[in-house]
């Protein structure tokens, strides 16, 4: 028997409901409406139908920031998954210093993005930066990092002396963006590692004991037991990391000069910020925001569908 009252439940719900409706639901709906207006902060806007979306499709910077975001997501998410699974498997094995390692790996995740972005900007500095110092130890010449606008694939081919004539998009992320990707993977690894570690501890030892008796080696155990049984966690990590990755903003704001060099680090959320708050084209920025929302939603639904196909 649960407590039944007429008005009281709504009173309990009310404070949360008011805030959620006022500061989530209404802004989300407004964002949809704003995208049909020419809107700058002074006064009211002018209804222009789909003109913002039409302008967006013709906007080369929009497509460039979409391309940049694509490269960020497509490299960062798998890298993060591979590394965090590796760390989790290793952490799961060891007996000593387990909590010390967990603290070390988790530290970047709890510290503020602003502080670590400032530090990483310095790490990537051409002359005084740590990155080039370490690369120097292994005999790699100093790189431009955050000031380098050439794509990394192009740079590799150029170093090998091979001609590379594809359009700009296929040059891959600029080295500047690649630096941002390295930093972003570093920042988020701790969380994914901890999630994987929790997932690994949920796998029953029985499977491994059985495999041991059947004479399966460690690597076969990993591919045939760990990987399939951890797949629900992998899907969670995949979905969460993708959503967070699409929202990358602070790194760009703090580490680059307005998404430069040559717009190669301009990610979609930074572009929304720039259009909305620097150039005050709020209607246009809302149209991009809504497009991003639909994209994220579609990807999430797609990943969920995949999950149903794969899971055991």
């Amino acid at each position: 028997m649960k407590t039944k009252w007429k008005i009281s439940p709504y009173l309990y719900l009310l404070p949360a409901l008011v805030i959620v409706i006022a500061f989530r639901l209404i802004p989300i709906v407004m964002s949809f409406i704003l995208s049909f207006y020419e809107w700058s902060i002074q006064g009211t806007g002018k209804f222009i139908g789909l003109a913002n979306y039409a302008a967006m499709i013709k906007d080369p910077v929009f497509w460039q920031s979409m391309g940049n975001t694509f490269w960020l997501v497509i490299i960062q998410v798998p890298a993060s998954i591979v590394f965090s699974l590796l760390f989790a498997v290793l952490l799961n094995k060891i007996k000593y210093f387990k909590s010390l390692f967990r603290i070390v790996y988790f530290m970047p995740f709890v510290t503020s993005l602003v502080a670590v972005s400032i530090v990483w900007k310095l790490i990537f500095a051409e002359q005084t930066g740590l990155m080039n110092t370490f690369l120097g130890y292994v005999g790699i010449s100093p790189q431009g990092w955050l000031s380098e606008s050439r794509g990394i694939f192009l740079m590799i081919f150029q170093d090998l002396g091979i001609k590379f004539d594809l359009p700009r998009f296929f040059h891959g992320p600029s080295q500047a963006l690649f630096g941002i990707i390295i930093m972003t993977v570093w920042k988020g690894l701790g969380y994914n590692t901890i999630i994987y570690l929790a997932g690994l501890q949920n796998i029953s030892k029985v499977y491994y004991e059985a495999a041991e008796i059947d004479g399966a080696g460690k690597s076969r155990q990993f591919w045939n037991i760990t990987l399939p049984l951890i797949s629900p966690t992998t899907f969670y990590v995949l979905i969460m990391t993708t959503i967070v990755s699409f929202q990358t903003f602070a790194q760009i704001y703090l580490m680059t000069d307005k998404g430069g060099p040559l717009n190669t680090t301009k990610l979609i959320v930074y572009y929304i910020y720039e259009k909305g708050f620097d150039l005050l084209e709020m209607g246009y920025a809302s149209a991009i925001a809504l497009t991003l929302f639909i994209l994220i939603l579609a990807l999430t639904i797609f990943q969920r569908r995949m999950e149903k196909h794969v899971n055991y």
């Binding site: 009281s8 949360a16 510290t111 503020s112 530090v119 703090l254």
Partner: protein
């Protein structure tokens, strides 16, 4: 074989572990270095300092060596602030000495950075905003989660799904419309803009609801027989039994308010309302050549959260780990 395997495991973990903390160590050591040393473009993990002094009449003056010859050297004599006090001077080379200090820790960088920009005020603003938001989050979440978990009413599931679907929407999507909305409310550039929209946290509601649902019904039946009111049950049964989960949610809330950046950056223009992260980002723009002060400021901006983290690392890591587990 087993020994080799475990050695490799530790080796790999240590190498990657170093990668995780080297940026922090470097931030701290750079914060303790003088700008002049940093500008020499050597990467240092142990702050050191090298400078010349002029040793004469039993007194040592710090100098800038302009030219050193066998007999005479040309020097600038520096004052306490290391500015050039005497333009040129010729002295015997034998009176010149090279001083090497290692480690040479310049803790005064911290106080210099702290004074350069009103970081005290930024700390205050951040604490004020974080704790008031936390207060709001706890009230709204406890009440609504209690209703969702232990009461039956029309539209309950509908409201719950509404909340859940709102949770999935990323912040940048509604940033612009929120700005327009707060502008209409005349809340831009006020504490309201930083606090009120964040006094409800759907994830916390979700977390509390799961926990409250698992509490045994017998407790509520017994309390009901004793004449306990509905609110009394929340106060006397639910909350005392939920202390760990309340602590978890509080830590989440504090960490996320402390680290929140894009929202306060957009909603606040007045310098006196800046929170720490925004203040630090402005300092990053203004003091980009004063690297060591910038690193000092970055260091003290993360110290409070790191203290909280080291103090409660077990609970914090366990709490974050739980967010990935499906019920």
């Amino acid at each position: 074989m087993n020994n080799l395997r475990s050695t490799i495991t530790y080796l790999v973990l240590t190498i990657f572990g170093l990668t995780m903390i080297v940026p922090f160590i470097w931030m701290l050591t750079t914060a303790l270095t003088t700008q002049a040393e940093f500008n020499k473009q050597e990467t240092l993990f142990i702050p050191k300092e090298e400078y010349h002094v002029w040793n004469h009449d039993g007194q040592k003056d710090r100098i800038l060596l302009v030219m050193e010859k066998d007999q005479d050297s040309v020097i600038h004599v520096l004052d306490e602030k290391l500015n050039i006090a005497v333009e040129y001077k010729q002295v015997p080379s034998s009176e010149i000495e090279l001083v090497r200090k290692k480690p040479s820790l310049h803790w005064d960088n911290f106080s210099k950075a702290f004074k350069k920009v009103p970081f005290g005020l930024y700390f205050y603003n951040t604490l004020y905003v974080s704790f008031l938001s936390l207060f709001g989050v706890l009230i709204t979440s406890l009440l609504s989660a209690y209703a969702f978990a232990r009461m039956e009413f029309k539209g309950r599931d509908l409201f719950f799904y509404l909340f859940l679907s709102m949770m999935m929407v990323p912040q940048p999507i509604y940033m612009i419309s929120s700005y327009v909305l707060l502008d209409k409310l005349n809340w831009l550039d006020t504490y309201n803009a930083l606090i009120i929209p964040w006094t409800a946290n759907i994830f916390t509601i979700f977390l509390f609801r799961q926990h409250f649902k698992a509490l045994p019904q017998e407790l509520f039946d017994a309390a009901s027989i004793d004449g306990c009111s509905i609110f009394g049950m929340l106060w006397r049964i639910v909350i005392p039994l939920s202390k760990p989960i309340i602590a978890t949610a509080s830590i989440f809330s504090l960490i996320s308010s402390w680290n929140s950046f894009m929202w306060p950056l957009v909603m606040i223009n007045r310098p006196e309302l800046r929170v720490l992260q925004v203040g630090l980002s402005y300092f990053n723009q203004e003091a980009s050549t004063q690297t060591t002060l910038l690193m000092a400021a970055s260091t003290f901006s993360i110290v409070p959260i790191l203290i909280l983290f080291f103090f409660a690392q077990k609970q914090i890591i366990a709490s974050y780990a739980k967010t990935g587990l499906k019920d």
